[in-house]
Symmetry: D3
Subunit: 211 residues, 6 copies
């Protein structure tokens, strides 16, 4: 016989009612959040389902122009990630599909090619040097935090990639949308990008921007 005692260690055990900040902090989106993330759901209400997310399982409807889609599993979609320093997303790219130039202000990213062939790259901030390569199924590539990067389906079939981030809330800033899909006055866009006003107004029109 290997153990002899009933209820041994009982004094060792920190009661679960006090242990909320131990181990995990499933986000409660109904409470005020803070700089480090969402407030924690009460431990007594946490179940296995809080740690599982099925929203990346099915392909989503692609966006016609880019023939692609990004499906995030960040803390707002998957609150079980809250406070754990990591998140995921799914990239679907049809033939010719493109994820346009974008940044994640709060995280580095690793991409894994589930199927297809993807040309991906990023631009260094120090000297504008470009690093890009064509990735085959099973290849992984890392994109350092905050840098402009892109993914293009460079193959003859649709492509699927899974990307991970070093934060539960990496953010996603697509340059075209940041510049043209809001009410930033045309003259400010022109002054800060050196594109001419007519082009900016056209792009604003297409992307739903105003001013």
């Amino acid at each position: 016989m290997y153990f002899h005692a009933l209820f041994i260690f009982s004094l060792l055990i920190i009661s679960s009612s006090q242990a909320a900040v131990l181990d995990f902090c499933v986000g409660d989106l109904s409470l005020p959040d803070g700089p480090g993330g969402y407030a924690c759901k009460k431990p007594s209400k946490v179940t296995s389902d809080d740690f599982v997310f099925s929203g990346l399982a099915a392909p989503v409807k692609l966006i016609p122009l880019i023939k692609a889609a990004v499906t995030p599993a960040f803390a707002p979609q998957f609150p079980g990630l809250n406070g754990l320093g990591i998140s995921m997303a799914r990239l679907d790219l049809a033939i010719g599909g493109v994820i346009p130039m974008h940044t994640h202000p709060g995280a580095s990213e690793v991409l894994y090619v589930v199927q297809g062939e993807i040309c991906a790259g990023f631009i260094s901030s120090s000297d504008n040097k470009v690093f890009f390569k064509t990735l085959k199924q099973g290849d992984i590539m890392v994109f350092p935090q905050g840098l402009l990067h892109f993914q293009i389906n460079s193959g003859k079939t649709s492509a699927l990639a899974i990307v991970s981030f070093s934060s539960p809330t990496p953010g996603l800033q697509i340059t075209d949308f940041a510049l043209f899909a809001n009410d930033l006055p045309t003259e400010l866009v022109a002054a800060t990008t050196f594109l001419d006003a007519a082009l900016i107004k056209k792009l604003k029109g297409v992307l739903g921007g105003t001013n």
Copy 2:
């Protein structure tokens, strides 16, 4: 005369009503917590007593089988530690006493032998290499974050140690309890530890586990 002014510096002083996030954040366990710890008690209600904890002063009742006990002073027990990156615990080991194999998922540990002699060690994750040594009174030993480690009274008197952690909520996962003191189905335990089902059921019975 060294100072000449009354109320000098008054414009320098940040009013205490606004200064809640300065200096400290005594945990208020009645409020929702977040990934970084408990919400802060109002500064106006904080007293010297919030920064002092007497729960490690007296020896606690030992657990018969292991002839030992662990008494934590983590943030749930000592909310004055909240947010300050440190905590403590007390280890009591009678002659032959043992703190079984365990990990602290969220912190490194330093142990100080207050009295007696303790054989302590940890196992590296990279190559399963074991580092252990017999410690005399006054010796200290460090256990890197998250690694399996243990402490055994190897002397002829009872032993007392004070351990410190690099987090107010280091966590404590005792391997035997994690495997056998819950409702994890026997077949899952068997499949993931390669112990046989009969032994697992016996251990579950002893430790209060089910399934």
Copy 3:
């Protein structure tokens, strides 16, 4: 024509109602705070004004004895900084003005001389070595976290400096005030500073301290 699609990317966009922890967390000083800072104002209520602070624009009334003043723009004064790892303050020094020996317990500091000439320095903790220099307009100097430092107007005109900190809540502990402007008993001050009781009582009297 450069863009062809209306409402493209719509599936890419994380809805703003869920995005509270992305990008920024303007502090809501009416809610309980936590170890990482204030809880976040609801994103729907955040405006451009939350990210702008005008409290450093005007010179403040100087304190007669030191002929100087410190005006903070820390998170309590400027909640838009909350969670962003940075803050500022303004130093005004008349001719002969002095910012007395002090520390910032939670941040390193960089000082920029807007006008005038300032002699500034800090004291290393490892060997009490002093690093100080006279700074001209446009010079910058860094003061490592937590170390005693000072600034003196060493020129023939008034001086203005802008200082930045590596935390939204750097704290400010002026040694003379910490020792003499509170109710710490004279005998404790004497025992821990080796100044004599008569001098301590005189300084306490001047600075508003008791006991």
Copy 4:
């Protein structure tokens, strides 16, 4: 015409020779490393290939007993991850395959099921509560830092999963190996696990341990 100047911005650009700590730090495994990771490869020698890793592309030879394999892409295998707060690994599980109970001392983990069906779970440190669930293709699950967890192929086909970690060096400590595949004396294993000596010696023999 949108731009008029040649070589504009030239004063803005930080020369690449000085910019080593900007953006990324590809690990140079030939140099001494530090607490934060490997020293950086010289920027002038960094190419696109440094950010791509193909070692997860092909299935590896499975280990007969567990009918499974783990292939890491941590910083030692993929130095481009160095300092970026993230890494990946590939899990192959044949029918009946198992990744035994283990921890990652330095990171949280997210698992994505590329194909097949996987039963996965973890054990909380605060009350030994078990969280587990059967995951279908495309499901993701998060395992908080440092906690015991496992993955089992619960389907009728082989399974493939990609896991990501919140550190470039998450570590991997498999409980059975940590206890039985080294020279930790049998009496110490017995004293700290309550398994009997005969069983320990048998397991040591199987796993290559001694003493």
Copy 5:
């Protein structure tokens, strides 16, 4: 008499030869660096000059097209900042001058208007919402980490601003340069920005890009 002892505390003092990691770590740019910054200059060679930088004191030559200039005091220029979590830069804007759309991948920024009037703003990643405002002398504005932002001289005199960052190596990625001032193939730029090839080639020609 207040002190009686010569050489008291001598046992308290950590010898400077061992104290390199205490207090500060002035960068030695001749040594390999790591993820956390440059290796430290030997403490015995550190002088007051290491903590002072005069490179922001004088206005620099403006770039004709943008009528502006950015002068950084990041760790590569001012190694005394290394490891201290903060840095600075100087912005000079002539009448009509502009700092074009850019990001700092590794830091939040606070801007202080030393003289003149500046219209500054940033774009949120979560919903492309724009926050901008005209700043007068003495106003400060914060720009959260990694987000696109800009500064324009909106007044009738030249303007000067001092900006601080929450990192010694914040990085600086100017969108126009990242897209057009390197060898990223025109077809990749076109595919990821939806600008047409002729325009891209024109911009590349102006900014010195190829391909």
Copy 6:
């Protein structure tokens, strides 16, 4: 029989030659250090002795004036702590002994009274509020990072305390020494402390300061 395979898991194991940044980083004081600590000793040369330190075991010679001594076990003394976020020190206080006002610029502290009675306290930076209390054997008290604090033997026997810090290099700045035990010119000390020159010169003489 519980295990059937020889050499199972072999593909799981990350070779130790590549695993330097996993688990721990024992400091090699002969190599250049960085902002995060010392460079790592080669893993093949690391032994159990690297994780054990006996320098706190014996009482040290007390300093006559303060009737006390501080013995550090920081990373420079105990390189096994390097990178692990924690350190320790031993405080010996004879009857009437005092640890004078000081700060630790880089860490919070927890004190445990091994024997005797100690009056300890700290001063908040936000409003100079003092928190102090008399501690009995076994009591613990926390001192938040960077704040002025002190310890006095308030009992009728000698006292011994063990203190832990939330950093391997907490630093130690004793106010009296920082002000008077170096070559900081008397006029600068006078200007920044408002003590008169004669007193400063006397204190400098006693403590070995000059100028």
